[in-house]
Symmetry: C2
Subunit: 297 residues, 2 copies
């Protein structure tokens, strides 16, 4: 990296992700300025040591991070660029293609904007759930426009490294397909299962074990934020849902097939492919955990 070191970062949006980035950067001595339309969120983040409040007339930042919900990113970005808040801009939304297209249409300066998405999250939201190590050992996708200069990308990559994460350049469309299958569609599937219990009585609930706990955990996420995310990545998510619907409809048919050999085979095939997928997930996950331990050690 031949880009100059990052000294100042401004974070626009003090939720879980924005505040965690701020805490991580503060840990490396970078100056962090915080902003949020909710002054309580800024106050909470400041109390946690995430930085100072962004004030009018403050020096331009090396990187401005837009850490607001997906549908608001372009508006906040455009405003920040108009005010000249920084040299380079990025965001942390978990969808990319639509945001990049809208940023272009809205006249944002794409030479200084490097769309990003840290692959980390937590069960709870808000600044109070933030952690400085949230990104350690995790990947952080960057989906720059073809015309964006390498220097802008390098500056954002340097900030990613300062958070303990590894950046990876992925085209926006490909990013969105990956995010759909590893995160967005699973969220809806989890919600569809959890919804079976929206009116469940205590007698039913008292019977469940860890399996249902795990499979419904992500359904606890903020419905408003998730509605926004899902609509910003509509077609890739719908395509994954189509595949899951086909699998489950076929499984229901197979169950009703009454033990005929073709029905049993269809069910056994789904379970075997499920176990195979789980083994791949666990295998890579163990490797990632090992890598994280090494970094933390």
């Amino acid at each position: 990296m031949d880009s100059p070191p990052i000294r100042r970062v401004s974070i626009l949006g003090c939720g879980l992700i924005g505040t965690s980035i701020a805490l991580a950067l503060r840990g490396t001595g970078i100056h962090v300025a915080l902003s949020d339309r909710d002054s309580q969120a800024v106050a909470t983040a400041r109390r946690m040591g995430a930085g100072v409040a962004l004030t009018p007339g403050a020096p331009a930042a090396d990187v401005v991070v837009v850490a607001t919900p997906p549908s608001t990113v372009v508006g906040v970005l455009r405003d920040a660029q108009d005010r000249g808040l920084g040299a380079v801009y990025t965001d942390v939304a978990s969808t990319k293609a639509r945001i990049v297209a809208e940023a272009e249409r809205a006249g944002c300066d794409l030479t200084t904007y490097v769309p990003g998405h840290p692959m980390a999250g937590a069960e709870f939201s808000g600044p109070g759930a933030a952690r400085p190590d949230l990104f350690v050992g995790r990947q952080w996708m960057l989906s720059p426009h073809r015309g964006t200069p390498l220097g802008s990308v390098r500056t954002v990559a340097e900030m990613v490294a300062a958070c303990g994460a590894r950046h990876r350049i992925v085209p926006a469309d490909q990013h969105d397909q990956l995010a759909a299958v590893i995160s967005h569609a699973p969220h809806l599937v989890s919600a569809a299962l959890a919804a079976r219990f929206a009116d469940a009585d205590r007698a039913t609930l008292s019977l469940m074990g860890r399996g249902l706990q795990d499979v419904t955990r992500v359904a606890g996420g903020d419905p408003g934020l998730w509605c926004d995310i899902l609509q910003q990545n509509a077609e890739p998510v719908a395509a994954v849902l189509d595949a899951v619907v086909r699998e489950l409809a076929a499984a229901a048919d197979a169950l009703r097939g009454g033990g005929r050999s073709a029905s049993s085979a269809a069910l056994a095939d789904l379970l075997a492919r499920g176990r195979q997928g789980r083994e791949r997930i666990v295998g890579v996950s163990s490797a990632a955990a090992d890598a994280k331990d090494m970094i933390a050690a």
Copy 2:
């Protein structure tokens, strides 16, 4: 309880559940005899202190526990009753209605058979994964036939209490509907998601976070055992899958509705019901964990 105390229990099937019951009962001083068609499983369970091998001519047990896969329960039960292995019999299969019906058809003695299902499990199977505290604070459903004498039920309930669990009498049909929604259908949904990753490359897998980890965990279960369980509880599971399929198909339609207000409302409604269900699950789960802590303390 006015039933005489349990002194001897025989466990037929030294998998996770059978061996965990054996370990729990040994901890209260009950004599436990072990049997399995796989002599290695018996040897492993014995080494763990779960009891002695069941030998021909051993005294009849107070309770015989059939801890084999669902589709084999009736055959093992019938054989055990024919050999007079015990005074009272139970099983631990996670389906009940079909087993009870088949037991009746097969001429099993229903006056001494109390079908059971401990609501506990673990990610791994086999005797090596067994734990004496697997059932502590958990519920254990019993689904006796209408004609079964109360004395038989009391004897099995006493064994359940010796394992640290609370018994609950539930009709077999109702048991199966509950098991379908809290365990069997979620297993298939988890498998259908995990199957998306059966051929996933490392680059894709390296991006995932804890959400996908959690939602696919139960898909790691033994496909053969689960195929058996699901087919034994076919219609209740298929009915839950139908509901999940309807939800997910509607969500895919809503996503393709392109942000029209009715589409947004449908998506928001599913996410809100999912969060509501998750809150109920977490609320009761916390209460259950508290109760478990109290018992353990």
